[in-house]
């Protein structure tokens, strides 16, 4: 028997680790793309009336000015606090909500429609009402970020649960695992890629939500800088928070990718994406 096992081990040894095999590292391509874009923008942007548009060096200068004055840092801090809390809550609420809706038909029948409808809710129209309820400060920003991002997370989790192979759940059943054990130890890990995709979708929406909130309240945060600059025809300054937010979204996306790798290292190995 031992001898037999040795013999097969050679013939059915696992495949070797593959390298990515690119001639040029991907980041070189990305960097090149950014440089080309900035150069084109600089070249054509300079010929436009500075009220109607701006260009990279002017924006960089404006950024420097409001950074040195401390205005940008303070606004970013105000915005980010609301963003982090609202987005964190949407994960804490959205993932369990999606799991139970996907797993239990009673919960799906009872709550599924609210989640589907909630995702299509015209939130902008409801912002004035939310301001009446929660005031103009921190709370209303958190609520708007939460309402914009919780639904895509819940829906993706829900879809992910529905896609878990029946046989994996049967593995749990054959070992007499309880419903909660099956949910926690089989359904949840099997759903991780969907949850992560939902969180990625939600990041973009949450950033937009934060700015919408600040447009309406318009007394604090990055959104307030946009509004004030636009009202004063300081177009270059107006671009600073916009670009900052886009860069922030990129950073968050990378952070999520990193977290995904930490939480579900098998996924990247299975899909062999490189």
């Amino acid at each position: 028997m031992a001898e037999v096992s040795e013999r097969i081990k050679a013939s059915e040894a696992a495949e070797p680790v593959r390298s990515t095999g690119h001639a040029v590292p991907p980041w070189v391509i990305t960097l090149g793309s950014v440089v080309v874009l900035l150069l084109l923008w600089e070249f054509f942007g300079r010929n436009i009336n500075p009220i109607f548009g701006s260009y990279p060096t002017a924006i960089a200068q404006a950024a420097w000015e409001i950074t040195v004055s401390g205005e940008l840092g303070q606004a970013a801090l105000q915005s980010l606090q609301a963003f982090v809390l609202g987005f964190g809550l949407s994960i804490v609420i959205g993932v369990p909500l999606g799991l139970v809706i996907g797993r239990f038909w009673v919960v799906e029948a009872a709550l599924g429609l609210y989640v589907t409808a909630g995702n299509a809710m015209p939130l902008v129209a409801l912002v004035p009402l939310l301001i009446l309820w929660l005031g103009l400060g921190f709370k209303v920003k958190v609520a708007i970020v939460l309402l914009m991002s919780v639904f895509p997370i819940a829906i993706n989790t829900w879809l992910g649960v529905a896609a878990v192979p029946k046989t994996l759940i049967e593995v749990g059943r054959t070992f007499v695992a309880s419903n909660t054990t099956i949910l926690r130890r089989i359904v949840l890990p099997a759903t991780v890629p969907y949850i992560m995709a939902g969180i990625r979708l939600a990041v973009g929406r949450a950033v937009v939500a934060m700015i919408i909130a600040e447009f309406f309240t318009s007394i604090s945060g990055l959104g307030a800088i946009v509004i004030t600059a636009a009202n004063n025809f300081e177009t270059a300054t107006m671009f600073v928070p916009i670009i900052l937010l886009m860069v922030l979204a990129l950073g968050l996306n990378a952070l999520i990718g990193w977290a995904e790798h930490k939480v579900a290292p098998w996924q990247a190995e299975i899909s062999d994406r490189n």
Partner: protein
């Protein structure tokens, strides 16, 4: 310990075909038993209900009528007295080989040192000590199915149930695993009920073969080969094997079996 008895087990499914709902009779009063320590093969063409029968014995599905008993106790659901080996191993992809074996043991309430030791002992039984920390995608199909067997055996069930366990493997790996299964059976003495569509496999491994056709037990044949099968490759070349194979082949194709293997009802 480990006697399985099926008594008049019937199963009807309702299935929507286009506009109308059809009732499909998957099993019709199926009765047979597996004695303690015996290996029984459930064979038949695809769609004959053999996997359904196995799932009912496991408790994953309930019979429409009739009863399954393990050691005289009626089966009403899944239980630790039965272990199932799935067709494609069905390991949890986020767990290592060792953790997959540990999963079943944890569900049985085992913890700590004993949990680790038991998992490693069963991985050793299937010759995978060195691959304990690999994840399923880092294992070949044959190695994955060995982990599946270790996972089912580790909870020390009275009966080992196997659903076409080697059907998805290449011919060479299949032969090795068949020999290993007989080796494991010799060492553990488990009662084994397995489903297969492979005639040779049924005869090489089983003491008796239950032939199922369209949800009905066509016949039950005893395999006239000694329990210790020796080298399976050599056995395939013998006349006794050819004769037994021919009997089951005829039963599968609807002709009456002849007395090489006496029909045992």
């Amino acid at each position: 310990m480990g006697e399985v008895r099926l008594q008049d087990v019937s199963k009807r499914f309702r299935m929507r075909v286009g506009q109308e709902v059809q009732t499909v009779q998957a099993l019709d009063r199926v009765s047979f038993s597996v004695a303690e320590g015996e290996i029984v093969a459930l064979i038949g063409p695809s769609g004959c209900g053999k996997t359904t029968a196995l799932r009912i014995v496991m408790g994953l599905e309930l019979a429409t009528s009739g009863q399954v008993q393990v050691d005289g106790v009626a089966v009403t659901g899944c239980g630790h007295d039965r272990g199932l080996v799935f067709q494609h191993a069905q390991l949890l992809p986020w767990l290592t080989a060792r953790q997959n074996v540990m999963f079943g043991l944890e569900m049985k309430g085992m913890r700590g040192r004993e949990l680790m030791d038991t998992a490693m002992r069963y991985l050793a039984l299937v010759g995978l000590t060195a691959s304990a920390d690999r994840r399923p995608h880092q294992l070949s199909g044959g190695m994955q199915q060995r982990v599946g067997i270790a996972r089912a055996l580790a909870i020390d069930p009275k009966v080992l149930l196997m659903d076409e366990p080697f059907g998805a493997l290449d011919a060479q790996t299949r032969e090795v695993l068949q020999a290993e299964l007989l080796d494991i059976h010799a060492r553990t003495g488990k009662t084994i009920l397995f489903v297969t569509h492979d005639l040779d496999e049924a005869i090489l491994l089983a003491d008796r073969v239950v032939v199922l056709r369209a949800g009905v037990v066509e016949t039950i044949l005893a395999v006239p080969l000694p329990r210790a099968r020796g080298d399976l490759g050599q056995l395939r070349g013998t006349e006794a094997f050819a004769a037994a194979r021919h009997d089951v082949w005829r039963a599968l194709h609807g002709t009456v079996p002849v007395p090489h293997a006496s029909a045992v009802h």
